[in-house]
Structures are given as C-alpha cells and as structure tokens.
C-alpha cells in the first residue's frame, strides 16, 4: 500500500489532465447537441403533448361527469315532479270522489226525506179527507139516528143507547 500512497501523493489520482478535460468537454457538448436534436426534442414534445392530452381527457371526463350529474339531477327532479303530480291527481280524485259520494248520499237522503215528508203529507191529507168524510157520514148517521129515534120513541135512555150503539157500530165499521 506504500506505493499506492506514493501514487496518491504524486497526484496521479488527482492530477490534472488537460487532454482528458478537452476530450470530455468536446464529447459532452457533441453528445448534448446530438441528443438535443434526436432525442430530447421529440421526447419532451411528445411528453408535453401527452400531458396536455391527458389533461384535456381528464377535463373532458370531468365535464361529462358534471353533465351526466346535471342530467341525472334533472331526471330526478322531473321524476319527483311527476310523482308529486301523480300524488296530487290521485288526491284530487279521491277528494272529488269523496265529495261526490257525500253529495250523492246527501242528495239521496234529502230525496228520501222529501219523499217521506211527501208521503207523510199525503197520508195526512188522506187522513184529513177520511176524517172529513167520516165526519160527514157521522153527521149524516147522527141525523139519520136522530130521525129514527124521533120516529120510534122519544125515550131518553133509549135514545142514548141507540146513539151509543151507533157510535160503537161506527167505530167497528171504520176499523
């Protein structure tokens, strides 16, 4: 290792070599120029282009997503609206039906009431008429009875009996 130490001290490892510096510089510059022309230009421009392409694709995808979301939202809104509309229609229909039913039943009731009252009126009228007729008949009968009583005897008791029996007769007859 002594010799290597000497070599180090002699400066072999760190010794300047103008020839090598010259060739390194020349070689490096030429490589730089050639590579710039044949490689870095096309590669970097391709990378840039692809970067832009990817960016625009991402942008487009985002845009498409946003559009799709907007459409979906719109559809949902429409659907909700349609649902509400349907609900409303059904509700209205039900309400209408209820109202109609109520109306009809009310009307029917009113009708029936009216009919009943009509019937009652009629019955009343008939009754009144019957009573009138009865009254006339009773009066006639009374008159006839009186005639008979007067004709047979003018006995008060008898007369009373006769009138009673007549009334009895009338009542049975009428019923």
């Amino acid at each position: 290792m002594l010799t290597s130490g000497n070599i180090l001290l002699a400066g072999s490892l760190l010794s300047p070599n103008p020839g090598l510096i010259f060739w390194t510089a020349i070689t490096f510059v030429i490589v730089l120029i050639i590579l710039k022309k044949i490689a870095w230009g096309p590669i970097i421009s391709a990378l840039d282009e692809r970067e832009k392409g990817i960016q625009s694709s991402i942008d487009r995808a985002h845009k498409a997503k946003e559009e799709a979301e907007a459409i979906l939202k719109k559809n949902r809104d429409t659907l909700a609206k349609a649902d509400a509309e349907a609900d409303r229609i059904i509700r209205e229909g039900k309400e209408y039906a209820d109202k109609l039913r109520a109306d009809i039943s009310e009307k029917a009731q009113a009708e029936s009431k009216k009919m009943i009252s009509n019937a009652k009126d009629e019955i009343e009228q008939e009754k009144r008429r019957a009573l009138d007729v009865l009254r006339n008949e009773v009066a006639d009968l009374a008159v006839k009875g009186a005639e008979k009583i007067i004709k047979t005897t003018l006995d008060a008791d008898l007369q009373k009996k006769i009138v009673d029996s007549m009334i009895q007769d009338l009542s049975t007859k009428r019923n």
Binding site: M1, L2, T3, S4, G5, I7, S12, L13, L14, P16, N17, P18, G19, L20, I21, F22, W23, T24, A25, T27, F28, I30, V31, L32, I34, L35, K36, I38, A39, W40, G41, P42, I43, I44, A46, L47, E49, R50, K52, G53
Partner: protein
C-alpha cells in the same frame, strides 16, 4: 429427533474437519501451479478484475505492495486498452501545442458512452417521432421515458421552476451521460470515466457556467455583483466579496469531488476485497469474504451509479434554480450549505 440432530451436527463437523485442510492444501497447490485459477473459479463478475489480478500472485510473494499498484492501475487512466487475455490496444498519443491531447482509456470510455447514448436515444427519439399522443410507449421507450420524466418533473421542474425547459436538455444529457459512465465501469473491460477527476471537473464546470449564466440572466450584472457582496454593509465588503467569490466555486468543486470520490471509492473497495484473498492466499477467505462482499459492494455500486448520476443532476438543477430564482440570501446559503 434430538438424536438425529446430534448425529447431523456431528457429521457436519466431520465434513468440515475433512474439507478445511483439503481446501487449504488445494489452495496452496493451485497457487503454486496455476496462478490464474483463483480468479477464474470465482464468480463471473470478478472477471472485471481478473486480468489485473492475475498478474499479482504470479509475480511474487510481495503481493501487498503489488495489490496497491494493481488497484491504482485499474482505476487510473492510461494509454492502453487492455483486453486480457486477448491482448491490448495501444492508444495514439497526440500532442498539440504542448498540450497532451492523447486518446486515453477514459476518453475511449467517454466515446463508448456517447455512442451507446446516441444509439439508444436515436432509437427512442425515432419511436417518439412516429408515435401519436394517443399511443402509450412500450419496451425501451417506456423505460427511458420513466427516467426522462423523472428528471423533467422531479428534478428540473421541482428545483428550477417555470423556466425549467431551457435547462432540461443539459440536465437530461448530464444525467444519462454520468449514469452510463458509472455503469460502464461495472462491466468487464470497462472503466469508470466518472472515476477520473478531470471528467467530473469538466462536467461540474458546465454546471458552473450554466449556473452563472442563469444568475446573470435572472438578476442582470448589477444584481449579480450585488449578490457577491452578500447584501451587507460596504465596510464588510472586503470580507464578504472574497467569501462569496470562493462560495461560487465550492459548489462545482463539491460536485466534482463527490462524483469522482464515490465512483473511485466503490472500485477500490471491490478490488481490495478481491485482493484480500490473494494477499492471504486462501480459498476460504475468497469464498467466505471476498466474493460475497464484493458482490454486495458491486450491487451497492449499481445503486450508487444511479444515485450519483441523480445527485449530480439534482444538485445542478438546484444550483441553477437557486441562481435564477432569488429568494433571499439566507435561504440561498442554507440551501447551499445543506448540500
């Protein structure tokens, strides 16, 4: 069950007792007869060091001194491209105007790196030219794109800011250049050009100039000079200006030393581990220590190759970012000191 275990342990001990002396004797025997076998019988990975190491035990007993020489020889630059055992190529020496502009081993490695880089990226670039934005990259292009994209986004954009595109060419080139230089040092017959301080110094100088140009562009000459005073009272300028001036150079020097030292140190450690077995002349040391440990260091070196390329690029981007976007002197100093 206990009995069986006891018997097993016994047999294992017996086998070891038989094998250990055998191994030791074989070791001395083979060392005496064929010096090349230890290197050859190790894992293929050690082939990197085989040509150099083969010479060490053959030449004599004073392996300790030889080992140091061989390691240094392997790490240092020279004028011979050795492809042992097939032969070697003497590289031409060129001297222009008193400067030694010889093509050395590391220059050849730089050219190999350049050739590989250009071939690789010509292929990838061609594919990108044909590709539309809708196509996904695959295979080689995909792998390279991951690295390019990493440098572009996590290194350049993150550290420089919105002006990053101007410096991207430099950062990408420096990253792949250093990465490939580092990796080629781990290949048989390869050597690490980035383990030579001249190479790293040149690369750091590029970063230095780009940083200064970025600072000048961002602040103008006046702002640049004002920055050198550190924003202090004129009475302190006599101290501040030299300090700031030295501060300008510490960053590229740090870049230089870091890359060079990391790449050199890894190789020295691998070679030293291999040489332990030669110095101790033992197969057991080779099997138990040298090979597994050097494999471990080798794998670590693979990681370090990527890490150092990344750090160099990252720090270059950071320096450029700090120079161009001025966010107060304190932050600047803190950022510089931190790294």
């Amino acid at each position: 069950m206990k009995r069986v275990k006891a018997i097993k342990a016994n047999t294992i001990l017996k086998v070891i007792a038989l094998i250990v002396p055998l191994l030791l004797s074989i070791n001395s025997f083979t060392l005496a007869s064929t010096p090349e076998t230890p290197a050859a019988s190790q894992s293929p990975k050690t082939e990197v060091t085989a040509p150099q190491t083969a010479a060490a035990p053959a030449e004599g007993a004073e392996g300790e001194e030889k080992a140091g020489d061989v390691i240094m020889h392997h790490i240092l630059d020279n004028h011979i491209l050795a492809f042992e055992p097939f032969g070697e190529i003497e590289l031409p020496k060129i001297v222009v105007g008193g400067f030694d502009l010889s093509i050395t081993k590391h220059v050849v490695m730089l050219w190999v790196v350049s050739a590989i880089l250009i071939a690789l990226f010509a292929l990838a670039g061609g594919k990108y030219k044909k590709m539309t934005a809708r196509q996904a990259p695959k295979g080689l292009t995909n792998a390279l794109e991951a690295l390019v994209e990493f440098i572009r986004v996590d290194v350049a954009k993150a550290n420089i800011g919105k002006d990053y595109a101007k410096y991207l060419d430099y950062l990408l080139t420096v990253f792949f250049f250093i990465l490939l230089c580092n990796l080629l040092g781990l290949v048989p017959y390869g050597s690490t050009a980035t383990g030579n301080i001249n190479v790293t110094l040149t690369l750091a100088t590029f970063t230095f100039f780009i940083t200064q140009v970025a600072a000048l562009k961002a602040h103008g000459i006046k702002g640049y000079l004002a920055h050198l005073t550190g924003g202090t009272h004129p009475a302190l300028w006599i101290i501040m200006i030299p300090i700031e001036f030295i501060g300008l150079f510490t960053k590229p020097v740090a870049l230089t030393i870091r890359l060079f030292a990391n790449m050199t140190a890894g190789h020295i450690v691998i070679l030293s581990l291999i040489f332990i077995s030669f110095i101790l002349k033992s197969y057991i040391v080779a099997v138990v220590m040298s090979v597994p440990f050097s494999i471990f260091i080798y794998l670590l070196e693979l990681f370090v190759a990527f890490l150092q390329a990344f750090i160099f690029t990252m720090l270059s981007a950071l320096f450029i970012g700090l120079a161009s976007a001025h966010e107060g002197h304190e932050e600047h100093e803190a950022g510089a000191a931190h790294h």
